[in-house]
Symmetry: C2
Subunit: 348 residues, 2 copies
Amino acid sequence: MRATFLYGAGDVRVEDAPDPVLRHPTDAIVRVVRSCVCGSDLHPYHSMPASGQGTPMGHEFLGVVEEPGSEVTGLTRGDLVVSPFAYSDNTCEFCREGLHTSCRNGGFWGNGNGDVGGAQAEAVRVPQASGTLVKLPGVGEDSPLLPSLLTLADVYGTGYHAAKQARVNPRTTVTVIGDGAVGLLAVLSAKQLGAERIILMGRHEDRTDLGREFGATDVVAARGDEGIAEVRELTGGDGTHTVLEAVGHMSAYDMAVGVVRPGGVISRVGVPQYEQAPVGFGSLFGHNITSTGGPAPVRAYIDELLPAVLDGAVDPGKVFDLTVDLDQTPDGYRAMDRREALKALIKP
Amino acid sequence: MRATFLYGAGDVRVEDAPDPVLRHPTDAIVRVVRSCVCGSDLHPYHSMPASGQGTPMGHEFLGVVEEPGSEVTGLTRGDLVVSPFAYSDNTCEFCREGLHTSCRNGGFWGNGNGDVGGAQAEAVRVPQASGTLVKLPGVGEDSPLLPSLLTLADVYGTGYHAAKQARVNPRTTVTVIGDGAVGLLAVLSAKQLGAERIILMGRHEDRTDLGREFGATDVVAARGDEGIAEVRELTGGDGTHTVLEAVGHMSAYDMAVGVVRPGGVISRVGVPQYEQAPVGFGSLFGHNITSTGGPAPVRAYIDELLPAVLDGAVDPGKVFDLTVDLDQTPDGYRAMDRREALKALIKP
């Protein structure tokens, strides 16, 4: 089959690779119908040291079950499924608590995780298939809903996680930092949870326009201290009750601290590109700021988010503004890296 | 009057000072009946640079209203009152949300806050007296309940804040880091909120014994990696759902990260002696750890905690194991600094 590998910063290659095979009776082999490039793929795309061995890429996909392992239940050959960006057994105590990204038998696709391949490929081996995959009954391989359904694999569930962890509700004001796919879907999620005031910090007008369509009431294009001042001005000087940080860079953390209201919550879903950050009296502690977030257990949210996608009430798939064939995947990375595309859909 | 000032590390002096006078019609002058030395007073006692000008000390007290300002309502000369360690108007939106430590018209006693004196004194001017002071009807100046009532000014409410912010409940396991007064009262608070498993990390046996009396089910005397390993062993390898950090040093933060369960909460009420700390993928983010806490809005908790103190159901005053006269206040600091006393009560 053809599959995508990263060999170092800027060096994405689509190559021939062995077809995936079952290794455990709980695995399934899935033919990929749609996958995509994630904003988080751009982090290694910027910084990974060159290597002779490629890292398999891709962790978001819709697919068709080709071969379920002998212990896989609830899935049949031919089922169209969506897969969360982390696999999980959906039965351990962490999964039962809705924290599938800390599953005792779980893990992540691609990105160097050894024996599990990436989803920017023609097929993928899915560990813990019964717990991981969610069937999409009635949806065909040519459904116009595919882009929106694909967002359930990561970016929509991740934006929703940010908003849920922050306890967004009709009484909370919200700032979303970042106009990437996760930021925009954090806006949509905050709107769905009832927020009436949603300030989107982003400087790409085509993206922030989509943010307004998803529910943003205000857009702040400025960054740093100037951006902080604008958000404070919009909120009577106090900042917002919740801040959904969907970038992961230190500058975004600093902005989050700058715009959060005393007693408020910073909810981070952008993968932190830093380990240390200010948390002391002058940043979080002095005004009882809560910091929360992490890798989104999107598996926990699919059942909740699916109906509105299926009935067309929401259209999160609008974040895809470029479609490429699998062999053109490097073009998708390049376009996203240059901010020429918001998010690239891949058709194997 | 006599009042306590800190002139530099280790240099506490009780001196003659001008009697406090009303400055605003919302002030009240209160004669101090009991005050005490706080664990947080030990931070400047360790590190404050020498100065020719003393910093007024003390922020916990019971007192008798001597002179209410013309706009003070609800308080009469002669009322016995307890005062939170922060003053607040109890009417602004932050106070109405229960975040009195971020009150728009609030502030802190002593510790360099300029025009407001300290409570380790014979009397103190109380700003925003109507919002700040809570009457203790039926309690006399010689009541045996005074020590327990005094803990409502800070350490009990602070321990309770840690537990409330962490959302301790009967289903959450708890680690409390620190066997000072706040840590021990965090144990009591966790017990009151229904926690069935409370692990106390502390190495002073007389204190951890009191912790057991307050509700700790396990005591871990080891610190650092060894202490972390012991807590993990006690919890099947996973750590506890909540960690109440009542110390404020970086080593306590690191232990909190080490013993918190995936998806869990670290609730900090020890005043951080650091600004930067690990929060990235390898510490908080990777397993969706929430970090919360800050200066406790103890005013918000007094009404809730008072009844059990008045009827003797709890006896948080047991944290006081030394009583000194006002002029002996430096002995109280010294004894606490040497860990010869847990908490020193001051009788002016």
